[in-house]
Amino acid sequence: MSAPSPSTLGPVVILIAATLLPALPTGLVNSWKSVARDIAAPGQRITQQAFQTAIQTAASLGNTTSFVNSTSMPSTASFDGIPLANNDSDVATLRQQLSDEQEARRRLTAAWIGKTPALEIPAAPNEGIVLASHQSEFPWDQSPSRLEPQSSERLVIPELVSAALMGGEHAARWKRGHFLSKGGLHGIEESAWVIKSPQPLVDLGADHGVSPADLVLAGSAIVGKIERVGQWTSTFLPLTHPSFRCRATIVRPEAAGNATRQPMILAQAILAGQGDGTCQLEKIPDTVGLRTGDEVYSADTDGALAHPLFLGTITSATLPTENRHWVAVVTPVFTTPGSTGDDTTDNLQLDLPPRLAVLRLRMNPARATVPSGTGNPPLGPTP
């Protein structure tokens, strides 16, 4: 009996090895999947760039043709049904429309994550509105238990208060004491902590019940958190400040190559400002498949908010070979390019809208009244 030749033995060995693959344990399978992703990453990058180049070339060819054809139409040039901008005012209008659409989409995504209606910003200044008075959302009617819980009001409810950003000369004059030069003699002074702080100012203080760590919002996006509270003004830490940290939820939006066509929650992480106009996500394991374009929302642990708020978009995500955690850079909607941690940024350059909102927490008025006869004094809501 002769030994099998190498030409026969090779295929047999390969076939046996392939047949045994489904019997591998799950841990080994996951390890291979991680390795396969690493192996395929360079090839995927090359092929994706090739595809994108081909698509862009095709699009530019189509664009050129459209523009050539549009020369015969003097006023209403169009490209695939999209009106082309004729002058700067059209560009500004389209930019505003794009910004509005993005804001609406972020609110929808946030509402989808929280399964609750979208956030509303108060139109009138300095008027608080109740964002959510949570009722119990547990499906008790489907519960087999006969115990019917009574509905209860939340003790602490969030409120949005419209605020204005004090920037440039306005803030400088406030800090120099021009507005309070006469009041100082009668003991009317702003807090020294606020006056001396290099951080940006909003025109709300203790008179509106603002507290440290309250969130500062622009639309549905977080731009910072209150740092020091004065009598009439407060300073806030911008999102990109090195001292800023908060919990975050990473969400894949519905259109970024997502097969389910719905937003998808990927992971939770810590968002930390870097001081260079961007933030970084910490402690994301390599088992999560991050990609640029994924969005980051706040992660509320105490259930005070009805739905998460927008933090920024992932603009860079790399997985270093020596590290098992992602290095993900998040760029917020509104950047603060000069927000370094050295506290010397007196002339801070801000790219923030003039109208902001402060999210403050206050005691629920419905819970603040105590039944008569208990002997305890009634609790009033914070101003």
Partner: protein, 189 residues
């Protein structure tokens, strides 16, 4: 040297095929899955085309075991990048398909048309187990037929383009040498 070059080319095909498949999904919105071209691209059975390309280009230069190992590697990478929690489906299928190719085309000098003849069979054998294991969708017969036809059409197109230079610049066949004319070939006319 030539052997190593062909081996490198075969491995490159096995490596790039899964990359192209995953990249296609990533740029899906840009391609427009609903357009004719978009649908055409998704209907192509890329692993079958890759196996055929390996056979057509490297059969004459490489040992069958090399091709079989490359096919197994292709399937293993496809399994690794797939969303399924189990390994082996693509690996076994690709290895068996390559074995079938090598068995049906035993000659070292494989002509591309031979491979084209078995492309529909390969596409059927690759598509059917996947459809059965992952659950048959509605109208799966049409989907499978479309995949087979698209892959065959693309393979025929590729082979025709590759063969065109040989059609246009066809060299004369060498005069055959038989016992009867051996003296006439050695002596002047």
């Amino acid at each position: 040297m030539t052997h190593w070059l062909f081996l490198l080319a075969t491995l490159l095909i096995a490596y790039l095929t899964p990359c192209v498949m995953t990249s296609l999904h990533a740029v899906e919105p840009s391609l427009g899955g609903q357009t004719f071209v978009g649908r055409f691209i998704y209907d192509v059975n890329l692993p079958v085309l890759a196996l055929g390309l390996m056979v057509a280009t490297s059969r004459a230069r490489l040992h069958p075991t090399n091709l079989l190992a490359a096919a197994a590697g292709l399937g293993l990478l496809l399994d690794g990048l797939s969303a399924s929690s189990q390994l082996g489906q693509e690996t076994i299928t690709c290895t068996l398909l390559m074995l079938l190719c090598l068995t049906l085309l035993p000659a070292r000098e494989t002509r591309p048309w031979h491979w084209l003849a078995i492309v529909p069979l390969l596409a059927l054998m690759h598509g059917l187990p996947q459809a059965v294991l992952q659950g048959l969708p509605a109208g799966w017969q049409q989907l499978l037929l479309r995949e087979i036809l698209t892959t065959t059409f693309l393979a025929a197109l590729a082979i025709t383009i590759l063969r065109l230079p040989q059609v246009w610049f066809e060299t004369k066949p060498a005069a055959s040498l038989h016992l009867e004319n051996r003296w006439s070939r050695l002596t002047p006319e």
